[in-house]
C-alpha cells in the first residue's frame, strides 16, 4: 500500500472540498506572484518581451513530474495509479483542437481561465469579462454537442489513460529526466530569444534562483533515475493490485475492449462453460509462464477469480501495467450480467436509468434476450454511455 494520495480525501468529498479552498489559495497566490493577474504580462510570451508563460508553466510541470517520479521510485506512491486517478483520459483529436482554441483564446483575452480569477481578484474588469466569455463558450460548446457530428469529434481519438512512459516504452523516471532537460533547454532558448528581441530591454534573469531551480530539477530527476537501480523485487512488492467492479468492467468490455486484457483463473472447465466476453482461460498456476513481465503495459490486466480474490495470484504482479482484481469475481459478474435487470421507474434519477441501460445492454449481449427499453430521456438505446465524457471528475471540466 502506498502512502499517497491520502485515502481520507479521496474517499470523502467533504474533506476534498475543504482542502480545495487551501489548494486554490496556493494556486491563486502563485499565479498572482508570477504576474498573471495582469493580462499584459501573459502576452509578453507571444510578443517576445518576456517568456513568462513558458517559464512558469514549464517550471510547474517539471517540478510535479520530477517529484512524483522520485516518490514513485522510492515507493511512496504509485505513479500510474495516481495518474489514472487524477488525470482525464486521452482523446487526442479534441484535445489538440481544444489546445489550439485555448491558445487563440489566450492571446485575445490575455488570460486562461485560471489566471482570470487572479485578474478578477486584482480588480481587473477585463478578467471578469473573460470569465463571462468562458461561461458563454461552455454554453456554445454544449449546444454544438447536441449535434451528431460534433459529438463524434468530441469522442474521437479515445486512447483511455495514456501516459508518456507507456507511449515511449521507457521508465517514468527517464521521462522525468528528459522533461527536466527539455525544460531547462527551453528556458535557455527563451532567454536567448528575449535578448535577441529585447536587447538592452530584455528582462533581467539573475543567475542565483536559476542555478537553484535548474539544479533542483536535475537533482530530483537523477534521484528518480537512481531508484531504477533498486532491486526490482522491492518495487514490485510495493505495487498493489487495484479492484474493478462488475459495472465498470462491463462498460470497458463493451465500449473499449482494447483497454483491458481479461485473464480468467477459475480453471479450464468452468471457464469453458461460461466466461466474460474476451476473457482468456488461464489456470492460476500458469500465470508465471505467460511472459506478463515482457508485455507492454498499455492495457489493464483484469484477473477474474471464482469469487473475491484476496490477493493477486502469483505472477500477475510481474505485469508492468495496472493489475485489477474483479470485485466479487465471476460470481458477481454472473449475478449482475446474467440476471434480467428490472426497469427503473420513469422518474428515477438519470444515473439509475443509465445503469439500467448498460445492464440490459450487457444482458442482451450475453443472453440474446432483449429487455423492454427503459424510460430513456434521450436516444441511445441500450448502448452504454461513457461515464467520464468530459464533464467528469477529472481536470477542470468538472
Amino acid at each position: 500500500m502506498t502512502l499517497f494520495p491520502l485515502q481520507v480525501a479521496v474517499e470523502n468529498p467533504n474533506v476534498a472540498m475543504g482542502l480545495a479552498v487551501l489548494a486554490g489559495f496556493g494556486f491563486g497566490f502563485m499565479l498572482e506572484r508570477a504576474g498573471f493577474g495582469d493580462s499584459r504580462k501573459l502576452l509578453g510570451q507571444f510578443f517576445g518581451n518576456e517568456m513568462v508563460m513558458l517559464k512558469v508553466m514549464f517550471s510547474a510541470v517539471a517540478t510535479a513530474v520530477v517529484l512524483t517520479a522520485a516518490l514513485d521510485g522510492v515507493g511512496l506512491l504509485d505513479l500510474r495509479a495516481l495518474g489514472t486517478l487524477v488525470t482525464t483520459e486521452t482523446w487526442i483529436w479534441p484535445m489538440i483542437a481544444g489546445g489550439l482554441l485555448i491558445g487563440v483564446g489566450i492571446v485575445f483575452s490575455g488570460y486562461c481561465p485560471g489566471t482570470s480569477f487572479v485578474g478578477m481578484a486584482s480588480g481587473k474588469l477585463d478578467a471578469a469579462v473573460t470569465y463571462a466569455g468562458v461561461v458563454a463558450g461552455q454554453i456554445l460548446a454544449a449546444e454544438l454537442e447536441r449535434g451528431e457530428a460534433w459529438r463524434r469529434f468530441f469522442a474521437s481519438g479515445a486512447r483511455g489513460h495514456l501516459f508518456l512512459y507507456d507511449l515511449l516504452g521507457i521508465p517514468a523516471a527517464v521521462v522525468a529526466l528528459a522533461v527536466a532537460a527539455i525544460a531547462v533547454g527551453s528556458f535557455l532558448f527563451g532567454e536567448w530569444v528575449e535578448r535577441r528581441l529585447g536587447g538592452e530591454g530584455a528582462p533581467p534573469s539573475p543567475t542565483g534562483p536559476k542555478r537553484f531551480v535548474f539544479g533542483a530539477f536535475a537533482g530530483v530527476a537523477l534521484v528518480a533515475v537512481a531508484t531504477l537501480a533498486l532491486p526490482s523485487g522491492a518495487r514490485a512488492v510495493q505495487r498493489s493490485a487495484g479492484r474493478i467492479g462488475v459495472e465498470e468492467l462491463a462498460r470497458r468490455v463493451f465500449e473499449a475492449p482494447w483497454t483491458v486484457r481479461l485473464l480468467d483463473v477459475r480453471g479450464a472447465e468452468p471457464c469453458a462453460v461460461a466466461r466474460i466476453p474476451g476473457a482468456e482461460c488461464v489456470a492460476a498456476a500458469e500465470l508465471t509462464g505467460l511472459g506478463l513481465d515482457a508485455e507492454p503495459p498499455v492495457r489493464d490486466l483484469v484477473i477474474v477469480g471464482a469469487g473475491e480474490l484476496p490477493e493477486p495470484p502469483a505472477g500477475a504482479m510481474a505485469f508492468p501495467g495496472r493489475v485489477l482484481l474483479l470485485s466479487g469475481g465471476f460470481a458477481a459478474w454472473q449475478g449482475w450480467a446474467l440476471t434480467p435487470p428490472t426497469p427503473p421507474a420513469a422518474d428515477a434519477p438519470t444515473a439509475e436509468r443509465e445503469g439500467f441501460r448498460l445492464q440490459s445492454g450487457v444482458y442482451a449481449a450475453m443472453t440474446g434476450v432483449k429487455q423492454p427499453a427503459a424510460a430513456a430521456p434521450s436516444g441511445g438505446g441500450a448502448a452504454p454511455k461513457r461515464k467520464k465524457a468530459g464533464g467528469g471528475g477529472g481536470g477542470c471540466g468538472g
Partner: protein, 173 residues
C-alpha cells in the same frame, strides 16, 4: 490603495513556477486531485441555461449529469475557485497590486479590449470543453503526471497562440 508605481515586483518566474508546481504536487498527494478553473464555468452554464429553459438544459448532454446533482455548486472545483480568488487577492493586496481597471495595450480603447476579452473567453470555454480541461486542469494537472493527451494539449496552446497573436496587435501594442 497603492498605485502601480509602488507595487512590489513580481517573483522570479522560475521561483513562482516551482511554487506553483509544489502546490500542484501537494494537491495530487493530499487530495488525489488536480487544479483547474473551467469547471465552475460549465456548472454556471448548466444552471444558467436550466433557469431559463429547464427542459432544454435537461436534454443537453453536457449538462444532464450536473443538473441531476442536488447542489451543482457544492463541488470540488467550485471550492478550488473560491480559494483561487482568495489566494490571488491576498497576494495582490500584500504586494499593492489590487487596482480596479482594465489591462490593455497603450493604444487600445477599453471597448476594443473588452470585446477581445469576451471573444477570447468564448474560445477558452469551447476549447476547455473539447479538451476536458483548461490550461490548469488539463495542461498543468495532466502534464505533471505525464498524460500524453495533456502534453499534446499543452503544445497545441503555444501553437494556437503563436499562430494568431499578430491579429491582436491593436489590443496589446
Amino acid at each position: 490603495m497603492a498605485n502601480e508605481a509602488v507595487a512590489k515586483p513580481y517573483w522570479n518566474p522560475y521561483v513562482a513556477g516551482v511554487g506553483l508546481g509544489l502546490v500542484l504536487t501537494a494537491t495530487y498527494l493530499v487530495i488525489g486531485r488536480g487544479l483547474g478553473a473551467s469547471g465552475p464555468a460549465l456548472r454556471a452554464a448548466a444552471v444558467g441555461v436550466a433557469s431559463v429553459a429547464s427542459a432544454h438544459a435537461a436534454r443537453t448532454p453536457a449538462f444532464t449529469r450536473i443538473l441531476t446533482e442536488p447542489h451543482p455548486f457544492l463541488n470540488y472545483y467550485v471550492f478550488l475557485a473560491v480559494g483561487t480568488l482568495l489566494g490571488g487577492f491576498v497576494s495582490a493586496y500584500v504586494a499593492g497590486r489590487v487596482q480596479p481597471g482594465v489591462t490593455r495595450g497603450p493604444n487600445a480603447s477599453i471597448r476594443l479590449r473588452l470585446w477581445a476579452a469576451v471573444f477570447g473567453g468564448v474560445l477558452l470555454g469551447v476549447g476547455a470543453r473539447l479538451a476536458r480541461g483548461c490550461a490548469s486542469g488539463q495542461a498543468l494537472t495532466g502534464g505533471g503526471l505525464l498524460s500524453a493527451g495533456s502534453w499534446a494539449f499543452m503544445i497545441s496552446i503555444f501553437v494556437g497562440g503563436y499562430a494568431t497573436f499578430l491579429l491582436t496587435r491593436k489590443v496589446w501594442r
